[in-house]
């Protein structure tokens, strides 16, 4: 089942990032399918926990550089076929029955999605449509997108692990909101990376990142990181404000969203300190 879990994790990322390449309605289908695969991942994770089986989020790198969307769609279909062949390794028949039904449907839909040329998502042109960026702003935005796309993936997995391994309803509500927020940010940044021709799947996580022992310290560090991210957004908004009002307001919007994340983490911190 550990191989099944790993392959599912890789298929989720492959599907999510293929969604970023697409410039058509296929993007929405791929987003929805990636949501389903992520949900499957949490089902298997809960089964590991229920059966007291240790697990981790180690995965292989997920290659996505293609010229045509069909190459990735075929790749995802192959990944799903491999997942289907391993479903029996999960002992919970209810879970695998539901997964099988979802996976069969997804394969049929993926095979019908229209062809698209997607080479521009990887051509490193770093030009943003309808925006003129100075070299300095372009470099800053490039580094920001790599740092933050990884960070959002990391946060999704950290909060997911924390949620899966906690029975505290108050904390789990906060973890779920933070997961949803990070999904939104990952999708915003992933689309921007594709538009700039620098799309890549984030690297895998070291176990100690999500298997931390001190939740209080994790939250304190998290608040500091969010404050740092706010500052970066502020600087980026200023750097691009001359060339793009849209960009500047986007980064101001992201900056303000970080306030909500900080408030949630402070709420979680207060909760564990009052216990």
């Amino acid at each position: 089942m550990k191989t099944l879990f790993k392959e599912l994790h890789e298929a989720w990322l492959a599907t999510q990032f293929t969604g970023f390449m697409s410039q058509t309605q296929s993007r929405q289908t791929l987003y929805e399918f990636s949501n389903i695969l992520f949900k499957h991942l949490t089902w298997l994770e809960n089964d590991f926990i229920k059966n007291k089986i240790t697990y981790n989020y180690n995965i292989k790198q997920v290659p996505i550089r293609v010229t045509h969307l069909s190459s990735m769609l075929n790749n995802i279909i192959q990944r799903i076929t491999s997942i289907e062949s391993k479903l029996d390794s999960c002992g919970d028949g209810d879970i695998t029955f539901r997964m099988k039904s979802d996976l069969e449907y997804m394969k049929a839909v993926l095979a019908q999605l229209p062809e698209e040329e997607v080479a521009e998502a990887f051509d490193i042109n770093r030009a943003y449509p309808n925006v003129e960026l100075s070299e300095e702003a372009r470099d800053a935005l490039t580094i920001f997108l790599f740092e933050e796309s990884y960070k959002e993936y990391e946060l999704i997995m950290v909060y997911n692990y924390s949620k899966a391994n906690s029975n505290d309803a108050f904390l789990n509500r906060i973890y779920q909101i933070l997961i949803d927020e990070s999904f939104f940010h990952l999708r915003s940044f992933g689309q921007m990376m594709a538009d700039m021709g620098i799309l890549g799947v984030p690297r895998s996580l070291m176990e100690e990142i999500y298997k931390f022992e001190d939740l209080e310290q994790f939250l304190k560090d998290g608040i500091q990181e969010e404050i740092g991210a706010k500052e970066e957004c502020k600087q980026l908004a200023a750097a691009v404000s001359d060339s793009s009002e849209h960009f500047a307001s986007f980064f101001t919007f992201i900056n303000n969203q970080e306030n909500y994340h900080i408030a949630l983490m402070e709420e979680a911190l207060a909760h564990i300190n009052n216990k």
Partner: protein, 147 residues
């Protein structure tokens, strides 16, 4: 760090990234200032001058660390320990020419490679020798933040 095309390639698709459960030696390079670290895993062919047949790395760190890890592990794959030690020395010797935050990342990767080589060497004498960790000397605070 300037984001030129070659470096962006390493950001989009870092070479040799990931764990290696069946490794012959692991080494760690650490930055105690900010908790960042790099782990390097080696697969080694036993020879008078051992050969690095495979190498991978993982990091808790920034994009610069990932780029440095991708470049240095690519250089180290398929070379003997004597050449890998030269690679470590050359990298450490170039740190003064880099901005402090970039220097700290490169030092962390170079020290992780050194630690993995040293761990392997020690394990030839004592199979239970613990994994070696080295701590970087470079202060990674950017100059403008020091004031």
């Amino acid at each position: 760090m300037n984001a030129d095309a070659q470096l962006i390639e390493h950001m989009m698709n870092p070479k040799n990234y990931g764990d290696m459960p069946e490794n012959d030696a692991t080494g760690i390079g650490k930055n105690p200032q900010n908790g960042e670290k790099v782990a390097i895993y080696l697969k080694v062919e036993k020879q008078t001058d051992p050969l690095i047949t495979d190498i991978s790395f993982q990091a808790i760190g920034c994009t610069t660390t990932i780029v440095a890890g991708s470049i240095i592990t690519t250089e180290a794959k398929g070379i003997h320990f004597s050449r890998a030690e030269e690679l470590v020395s050359t990298t450490l010797g170039m740190l003064d020419n880099l901005p402090p935050e970039d220097a700290a990342c490169s030092e962390m990767v170079a020290l992780a490679l050194k630690a993995s080589i040293d761990t392997y060497a020690e394990r030839q004498k004592d199979a239970n020798f613990p994994m070696i960790s080295y701590i970087i000397k470079t202060d990674c605070t950017p100059k403008e933040e020091e004031a």
